[in-house]
């Protein structure tokens, strides 16, 4: 695997509340980002940010926040609001990529209203709110696939609260599963480069394109577009303007493949056959055969796969 970059690149990932919010294997997201950086010669430093630690936005290039037990979520919500809130807001307004999964996603919305007890205040990054309708409504549990950016994301969801979007853009549209609230077929939320989602499983290992998308955003933000144009195919900086990945291109694949191409220039392609085999097999388990075929096609068009084929 060759790294097209000559300069050593470094990124710093802030992992929020690694001890409290770690319930659903979200460590896989961190491992994936680490490994995909390592294979490309990028140094990814992971810094855990626990309760009481301040969040200085200029020290990080990427933030991750996972989900935890209800019991642990209270102190975390308080800390997030009182101690890290301002820093996190500043980072997000400054286009820092943020991935918030499950409980973390709920904490970045306006509030979480439990079945009994007082509301838990969130940061309000996403114009959305979560309501737990009590034990008589069933939890949203199961494998899930959504459309994202012309491709698909697969994962597993397990949440009791139902999230409703105000003006926030959804991350994607539910192809199979429950999504935000099992009603409007939306899943997740996006604000600038902050992504909230219920997908774990872990999310990033089986969705390498999404992992690379986050890394691309972080690299672009840190090193700027001019630096990046040193890569294989030069492209006009304007063309690289941050893609509004929030926008849903429901079926039109062309703008999305464009976006894919942009990402690839920044990051050396990797051998992702296993990742895509797992992704596609999940789509097939969910009965999404045309999506599976589409994923297979776009995977085969991948330059890395072409290179592997030529190498035979």
């Amino acid at each position: 695997m060759t790294n097209p970059f000559t300069q050593p690149l470094t990124l710093t990932l802030g992992h929020l509340y690694p001890d409290q919010l770690n319930l659903y294997g979200d460590r896989g997201n961190i491992l994936t980002l680490q490994r995909r950086c390592q294979l490309r010669g990028i140094t990814l430093r992971v810094v855990g940010l626990g309760i009481g630690d301040a969040l200085a936005p200029d020290e990080y290039d990427l933030l991750f926040i996972g989900g935890g037990q209800d019991k642990d979520q209270g102190p975390v919500a308080q800390d997030l609001y009182e101690i890290k809130g301002i820093g996190l807001w500043a980072a997000i307004e400054d286009d820092m990529p943020v991935l918030a999964v499950c409980g973390g996603y709920q904490l970045l919305a306006h509030y979480y209203r439990p079945a009994d007890g007082p509301d838990m205040r969130g940061l309000g990054v996403f114009d959305a709110w979560t309501i737990h309708k009590g034990p008589q409504t069933s939890r949203c549990i199961g494998d899930v696939a959504i459309s994202w950016n012309g491709s698909t994301l697969v994962g597993f969801e397990n949440h009791g609260g139902r999230t409703y979007l105000g003006t926030a853009q959804p991350l994607g549209r539910v192809l199979k599963g429950y999504g935000n609230n099992a009603e409007d077929r939306t899943e997740g939320a996006v604000y600038r480069n902050a992504y909230g989602t219920y997908l774990h499983g872990s999310l990033l290992p089986k969705n390498p394109h999404f992992a690379d998308h986050l890394l691309t955003l972080a690299l672009r933000r840190k090193y700027g577009i001019t630096h990046m144009s040193t890569v294989d195919e030069p492209e006009s900086p304007d063309g690289l303007a941050r893609a509004d990945s929030a926008a849903l291109h429901a079926n039109g694949s062309s703008p999305l493949e464009m976006h894919d191409l942009e990402d690839r220039e920044l990051l050396a392609p990797l051998d992702d056959r296993l990742e895509w085999a797992a992704h596609i097999s999940m789509l097939e388990r969910l009965g999404l055969h045309s999506a599976a075929a589409a994923a297979l096609r776009s995977h085969k068009a991948d330059p890395m796969v072409q290179r592997l084929r030529k190498a035979q």
Binding site: L23, R27, H200, A292, L296
Partner: protein
């Protein structure tokens, strides 16, 4: 209507002459069950109803077994309960020595098998619920298949039952079984989609404890904070067990501190501040205390003072209790089995069994179904090591890979309902420990691809694993068909010689070919053929994976059907 018989101390029992030798070393002070029956309103006995339920249940069980619909492990109970809902209470009350229940995330089966080995050694007739039926219907089945059509238990004299109980089912079971001893092993995250979070399991248990008879004994793991805290809620007798051997501390052992540990109980149940550990054995098991409110690990009544490993599955443990110290040989590998043995020892002491019986019972116990079970196959030894949640998996991996001997390994990861549909937890397992430690490595199960991906991100080369997903990708297959190339056939052809290089398969299926074959059958074939004769293949399956591996080995005639030849 027959008056309920009391459970009498073994020493007062008229022993059958041939049991006399063993009886002499036993002093089992029975708890008088009359006390209990006085307190509880006697259920209206319908022998007719119970008899009908028994007949219906046993017929259903026999049919299901005959028709190979399954092991018939729970159908008998389901049917009998339909016919007569109080059947469990009705039958359980007839056991002369009452019941012991064992619950917790990990170690239920091994602990109850230790207890039953001990009690058999004493000369009791031990009844257990069988594999996988640790819900109420499984308990019902275990009783119904031993009952007569008149609604009476067959040979209930000198009988004691040991039931392993599903964590979430406990509140339903305790009131109907009314156990004499309730053993809690440990609590870790497990099947979050089914049980919910760890804290909600604790809530279930607290509810169950309210219906536990006051004259019962609670046996609790002192080293697990959420288990130990249950003792505060119970007014009756509570015995704790734990490990005192500080050389087993994770740090003292030279285990790299960055080794990933899943910690499920971090904070004090009273004041929510974080526990401080003087010694930590694994996950949240250890000597903890709360710096804020002063809560600390209770001093155990039964504890292991020194542990020494003779070889892979022979542990020499010094166990102390009430000033006495004994050496006990545990014929199973792993620190978690020391906890299981301690739980069993403590439960046996709660039943007033003698130390001699405890020592010989544990020493003679054999690994049970899938928990270290040993099967001979084509000149190789197959060891089955069930691993169904992050902490269980971590401990199995630690046991296997801590002595630096490269192993032959087959992982089977399923996501059926009994395993939990969510497999996110594999990312919490310390598979980094496996990297570079395997001679050969095969991956199978319904989620083989996910596990292979996990292993890849743990630093294991894709070329170093053989991957056996359940079925070919349809998308890939249909694409190949259009190229007039039968992908499936080639895959089948490859199946025999699973060692063909990945390079060759790439030529056939550029882009997505990652597997060496399909299905568990081929995986077992490949894993066995990769393992040289005379060596050991370690199979590490999830729960339904274990059942499938077992079925496959049964079909090859290597092991008896699991519902036969057990509970002898």
């Amino acid at each position: 209507m027959r008056k309920q018989r009391s459970s009498r101390p073994i020493s007062q029992e008229q022993p059958a002459p041939r049991r006399e030798r063993k009886m002499s070393r036993t002093r089992m002070a029975g708890r008088r069950q009359e006390n209990r029956s006085q307190r509880r309103p006697r259920p209206r006995r319908s022998s007719l109803g119970a008899g009908l339920a028994v007949i219906a249940g046993r017929t259903a069980g026999a049919l299901s077994r005959r028709l190979h619909l399954g092991g018939g492990t729970s159908i008998a109970g389901v049917v009998a309960q339909r016919v007569y809902p109080d059947i469990v209470e009705h039958l359980a009350g007839q056991l002369e020595y009452g019941s012991v229940i064992v619950t917790g995330t990990n170690g239920k089966t091994t602990t109850s098998s230790f207890i039953s080995a001990i009690l058999r050694d004493v000369g009791l007739r031990v009844w257990r619920n069988r594999e996988g039926s640790n819900l109420l219907r499984g308990v019902a089945s275990a009783l119904v298949i031993r009952a007569l059509p008149n609604g009476r238990l067959y040979r209930s004299g000198r009988a004691i039952s040991i039931f392993e109980i599903d964590e979430a089912t406990l509140p339903q079971i305790v009131p109907v079984i009314r156990p004499r001893v309730a053993v809690f092993t440990n609590l870790f995250r497990d099947q979050l989609d089914r049980y919910g979070e760890v804290n909600s399991v604790v809530a279930h248990w607290q509810r169950a404890l309210q219906s536990l008879p006051d004259d019962a004994t609670l046996v609790l793991n002192a080293d697990d904070p959420s288990i130990a805290s249950l003792g505060e809620l119970f007014p009756g007798k509570t015995l704790y067990y734990g490990i005192e051997d500080r050389s087993l501390d994770l740090l003292a052992q030279g285990t790299a501190p960055e080794r990933h540990q899943v910690i499920d109980t971090r904070t004090c149940p009273h004041c929510d501040s974080e526990f401080v550990y003087d010694v930590r054995f694994y996950s949240h098991m250890g000597h903890y205390r709360c710096a804020q409110c002063g809560l600390s690990r209770p001093h155990p009544d039964v504890y292991a003072t020194h542990i020494q490993s003779d070889n892979f599955d022979r542990l020499r443990v010094q166990v102390a209790s009430q000033g006495q110290q004994r050496e006990i040989i545990i014929p199973l590998p792993g620190l978690y089995n020391i906890y299981n043995a301690l739980a069993a020892i403590t439960a046996a002491l709660a039943l007033d069994v003698s130390w001699d019986a405890i020592t010989s019972g544990i020493e003679q116990s054999r690994p049970v179904f899938g928990r270290g079970e040993r099967i001979q196959a084509e000149g190789r030894t197959v060891r089955l090591l069930l691993a169904k949640n992050p902490t269980g998996f971590n401990e199995v991996l630690r046991t296997l890979f801590s002595d630096g001997i490269p192993r032959h390994v087959l992982f089977v990861l399923n996501d059926n309902i009994a395993d939990g549909r969510d497999i996110s937890w594999i990312w919490d397992v310390d598979f980094e420990r496996v990297a570079g430690q395997t001679r050969t490595l095969a991956v199978a199960g319904t989620r083989a691809l996910d596990l292979a991906l996990r292993l890849k991100y743990a630093g294991i080369e894709q070329s170093a694993m053989s991957i056996f997903p359940p079925t070919p990708l349809r998308a890939a297959r249909s694409e190949m068909t259009t190229r007039r190339f039968s992908y499936a056939r080639s895959a089948r052809r490859r199946g025999g010689a699973a060692t063909k290089t990945a390079r060759a398969s790439d030529q056939e299926q550029p882009g997505i070919q990652v597997q060496q074959g399909y299905g568990l059958k081929q995986a077992i074939d490949a894993a066995l053929s990769q393992t040289p004769a005379g060596e050991t293949l370690f199979v590490i399956p999830t729960y339904t994976g274990l059942l499938e591996v077992h079925r496959e080995l049964e079909q090859r005639g290597l092991t008896p059907r699991y519902w036969e030849g057990r509970d002898a």
